[in-house]
Amino acid sequence: MGRAVSLAGIVAGIVVDIAVLASPLPVAVRAGLAPFLGGLLAGLAARTGWRALLGSLAVAVAVLIVSALYNYFQAPVEALNAINRPGFYSFIPVIVHSVSAASAGLGAYMVRTGLRGF
């Protein structure tokens, strides 16, 4: 049951993350809010700290893969160039998305479980 909830949290996280990224919200909102919400959902649904961390990272990785594939199918050569050419700058989405989602996931889990004692 717990595993199913964790999985559901990850799936929900992915869906929400992508929905925010694809929304017409301003870029400054989209890029910051999407990984936060995605990771948060995965973390809230997790049963252990490890699951929260890995689950929220899974959300980020999945979203990054979906984004890359979406762009690749839209314009294959150009999308590969967009990832290959900018060097360090290509890693910014990976860093921001992963760190933000993982922090949100683990943070949400810790706050949730820490609060259980009160």
Partner: protein, 881 residues
């Protein structure tokens, strides 16, 4: 307790998670960072921004279908049923490839750069507002409209083409905004493009005009002569005479000028003056006073241009080559034409390669257009080919005025200048500051506000660049021309920048400087040494307060020196001297003072003559000449310097070794050889040594690129090869030619040792010091936007030009396109760009021609009239709502 700690840790993690959201929204650069961080529509999604290449799109306003075939080089071939559709589609396609570049160019001219980049753009904006170039662009468009309304058929058609193009550009802007395809640069700066207008196309044309003709020569000569003495001008005059005697002129001795009394004048009509109408005044110029008046002006101009320089046009050395060969010297018996205009090498390139076909008028033209301008500027159609170099004709004058704080002194009276206030927006964070600039206008031109000498003087400018002109009509007509005579008819609409046009049709070749040549009057005398007094025909700034040097009209259209099918069989131009002692009814015509070194011209002429022997020249020969890297400068100067250095004696081992290498060198500037480095370093040091005292006195940096237009290498050659020149050399440097040669060799060797970190001359490989850097406007911040840095063959004086200032400085200037047109029936030609047609850094066409350009691999010019005859991916633009 443990739980509390976990809660705190959890809260801290949540804060960390939410930091990007806060940061992206709170800081000025937040949107830019967010753009990088967004994996879906941000940096990774920028592949989508590349122009649509295939499929179908609807464009409201089209009357019929337009087929756009994108060939394997990324060049669009547009096939339309009518010109309206053709130019509308061209606007759409070109903007989808180059919108950011187009936008940047118009903003520079209109003085609106600071709206994009903030404070750093302000000095450029002030400069452009003072010149009023944006206003001139508006007037140029009004002129086209007026001519069209007055019944000028060519103007009417031009107007329709520009308006259709504008519609297409704006449809592209809407399309890109709607589909999330806006170019990367907008996303980085966090701004959106504004709609395009016909005036913006005129503004782009004016920017090119400014770059090509608005030089500092008068100013530099004024500063040099005022601090060193008028005899420096005498040196230049003697040198020019020597250049003529050596036969290094475009219109050579014995060539008959093409004169046709039935040629009509400029359109619309311009005031015509005869050179004999010039009045020479009876006093000599106070050179010291001139220097005082110009103090500060040069720095102001340099500062104003410094922002636009790295951003865009920058190193505008104005080098270019073109030559046209008549059928008597070619293998086919029909003319060949070559052109490689040398401009700043930028990513994306200055030019946009395109093929335009319209069935209704039979238009079928291939070549390069400036992004923002709807017509092919260099290229060919089925009937003629056309190419340009900068003619170096003097079309800019400076006037200094005594200024009392609010009025200027003119011819005995204090006059009130016309005043206007310009408001400049300067970007700051998410908002704008407003800066007001008061602009003054005197009788000859606009006053440049910068303080020039404790407020006592102001400087005004008069230039053909600042005149509105129907140049768009010229470009449209040239695209439709069917003979060299049609070209001449089109040239009536061309005022500035004055260019050496070479044109060929199936049978004829034409050389025709295009543009207005001012005739000045009230010319003061200048003491140029040796008791010689010559009138200041425009080579020095004028004293505006004494009403000197005012323009009374222009050389009549028919009197511009032209060559049609010259006896020599070909015409070559390379920014060198056009003609010497040109007179009309005995009165001297002042065309130019400063021209560039003749070395590229000499090599072109030599190769054309050599290769035309036997079977005659082919298009492949023309390509080979464009790629030639043998340095005529080295061939003329190095043996002289070697002999002088050996004569001087006292050479060290390393110097001896270097001399031996130079003696066995073929003067070919290959990237993998060390000899070019030795020759370059020696000539560079010799040039600096010769002119350093002059530059120092004038308060100028020798590295300032435009100074090299004034104090040049060919003058050193003159000084080393003639006895009179030797006297000048001694006056300049205090050294004999032998001393100069040996001292500068020593310094050059030290320079090379230091740069390469080796005492072994074999290590001094040219390509290690001489590399080409083609940079994007934002390339300093984001180097991955630049093209890869590569070793470059050639040098500043080779036909395949690759100039740099000192060893290791990047080559950022060179052939901005290379075109060879073959006018034989069924033949077309060859072309290559230094980059690619797309301005989108992730497009496969962003830099796909770059290495081809570097290695001299050209692709064919295509003049197919049916889309089925062109291989590539197809995009169909349909009429739609």
């Amino acid at each position: 307790m443990a739980s509390a700690k976990r809660v705190v840790a959890g809260l801290l993690l949540l804060v960390l998670a939410v930091l990007p959201l806060i940061g992206f929204n709170a800081t000025g650069t937040g949107r830019t960072l967010a753009f990088f961080a967004d994996p879906l529509k941000g940096l990774w999604g920028q592949g989508l921004a590349a122009a649509p290449l295939r499929g179908e799109l609807s464009l409201p306003g089209l009357h019929g279908r337009v087929v756009v075939v994108r060939d394997s080089y990324g060049v669009p071939h547009l096939f339309a049923e009518n010109e309206h559709d053709l130019f509308q589609a061209f606007g759409f396609i070109q903007a989808c490839d180059r919108l950011w570049q187009m936008d940047l160019q118009r903003r520079i001219v209109e003085g609106r750069l600071a709206e994009l980049v903030g404070e750093p753009g302000l000095s450029s904006d002030k400069w452009m507002r003072m010149l009023g170039l944006g206003r001139v662009a508006e007037e140029s468009w009004r002129l086209v409209v007026r001519l069209a309304e007055e019944g000028d058929e060519w103007a009417r058609r031009t107007r329709a083409a520009v308006e259709a193009y504008t519609l297409g550009v704006n449809q592209c802007i809407d399309y890109m905004a709607r589909t999330g395809r806006l170019p990367l640069e907008y996303r980085l700066l966090g701004v959106d493009p504004e709609p395009w207008s016909p005036v913006d196309s005129m503004a782009v044309a004016k920017l090119i005009d400014y770059v090509l003709s608005f030089n500092d020569n008068d100013l530099l000569w004024g500063l040099v002569a005022s601090r060193t003495g008028g005899w420096v001008l005498g040196l230049y005059m003697d040198y020019a005479e020597w250049v003529y005697r050596e036969g290094r002129v475009i219109v050579g001795k014995g060539e008959s000028l093409y004169r046709n009394e039935s040629l009509a004048g400029f359109r619309p009509e311009q005031p015509v003056a005869h050179p004999r109408d010039s009045v020479v005044l009876d006093y000599t110029v106070d050179l010291e006073g001139l220097g005082e008046a110009l103090k500060g002006f040069i720095e102001a101009k340099m500062e104003a241009e410094s922002i636009a320089a790295p951003l865009y046009w920058a190193l505008r050395e104005g080098f270019s080559n073109n030559w046209v060969v008549g059928g008597s010297l070619t293998a086919s018996g029909h003319p060949l034409l070559a052109n490689d205009p040398h401009l700043a090498l930028t990513a994306p390139p200055v030019w946009y390669e395109v093929h335009l076909v319209s069935r209704d008028t039979g238009l079928n033209v291939y070549g390069v257009a400036f992004p923002g301008v709807p017509f092919v500027v260099i290229g060919r159609n089925q009937y003629i080919s056309f190419g340009y170099t900068n003619s170096m004709v003097d079309v800019v004058d400076l006037y200094y005025y005594v200024w009392n704080g609010s009025k200027y002194y003119y011819n005995g009276s204090w006059l009130e200048p016309r005043r206007s206030v310009e408001e400049i927006l300067v970007r700051r964070g998410n908002g704008y500051d407003r800066v007001e600039l008061e602009v003054f206008e005197t009788m000859p031109g606009r006053i440049v506000e910068f303080d020039t000498g404790a407020g006592k003087y102001r400087v005004a400018v008069k230039a053909t660049t600042l005149m509105p002109e129907p140049i768009a009509v010229w470009a449209y007509m040239v695209n439709h021309a069917r003979s060299v005579y049609d070209y001449l008819e089109a040239q009536r609409y061309f005022y500035s920048p004055i260019q050496n046009a070479v044109v060929a049709d199936g049978e004829n070749i034409l050389y025709s400087p295009s543009g207005l040549v001012p005739i000045r009057t009230r010319l003061p005398l200048v003491d140029v040494g040796d008791g010689r007094l010559v009138p200041n025909t425009g080579f020095l700034p004028f004293n505006g307060s004494r009403a000197e040097g005012e323009w009374i009209g222009f050389l009549s259209f028919k009197d511009i020196p032209r060559l049609l099918n010259p006896g020599r069989g070909f015409v070559a131009t390379a920014n060198n001297m056009i003609i010497h002692n040109y007179t009309l009814d005995g009165a001297p015509v002042y065309l130019q003072w400063s021209f560039l070194d003749s070395y590229r011209w000499m090599r072109i002429a030599e190769l054309v003559e050599e290769k035309s022997r036997g079977k005659g020249l082919t298009a492949e020969d023309m390509r080979a000449i464009q790629m030639d890297v043998k340095s005529k400068a080295a061939e003329e100067l190095v043996p002289v310097l070697v002999a002088l250095a050996e004569k001087a004696g006292g050479l060290g081992g390393l110097e001896r070794k270097a001399l031996d290498m130079l003696k066995n060198w073929d003067y070919v500037m290959d990237a993998d050889k060390p000899e070019p480095s030795i020759a370059y370093a020696w000539l560079f040091v010799a040039l600096n040594t010769t002119w350093s005292s002059v530059a120092e006195k004038a308060g100028l940096r020798l590295g300032y690129h435009e100074l090299l237009h004034v104090l040049r290498l060919e003058m050193l050659e003159y000084m080393l090869k003639t006895s009179k020149g030797g006297e000048y050399l001694e006056k300049l440097t205090g050294m004999s030619p032998e001393q100069l040669a040996s001292q500068t060799l020593r310094k050059a060797i030290e320079y090379l040792e230091k740069y390469y970190g080796s005492r072994e001359p074999r290590d001094w490989v040219w390509g290690r010091a001489h590399r080409v850097l083609i940079a994007h406007a934002m390339g300093k911040l984001l180097p991955w936007l630049n093209y890869p840095v590569e070793p470059a063959p050639g040098g500043p004086f080779t036909v395949n030009v690759a100039p740099m200032i000192g060893l290791g400085d990047p080559v950022t200037h060179g052939p901005s396109v290379r075109l060879v047109a073959d006018m034989a029936p069924g033949a077309t030609g060859l072309i290559v760009l230094p980059g690619g047609d797309s301005g989108h850094p992730f497009s496969k066409y962003y830099d796909n021609q770059y290495l081809d350009w570097l290695r001299g691999v050209y692709h064919p010019v295509v003049l197919a009239s049916d889309p089925g005859d062109v291989e590539g991916v197809v995009l169909v633009l349909n009429p739609g709502s």
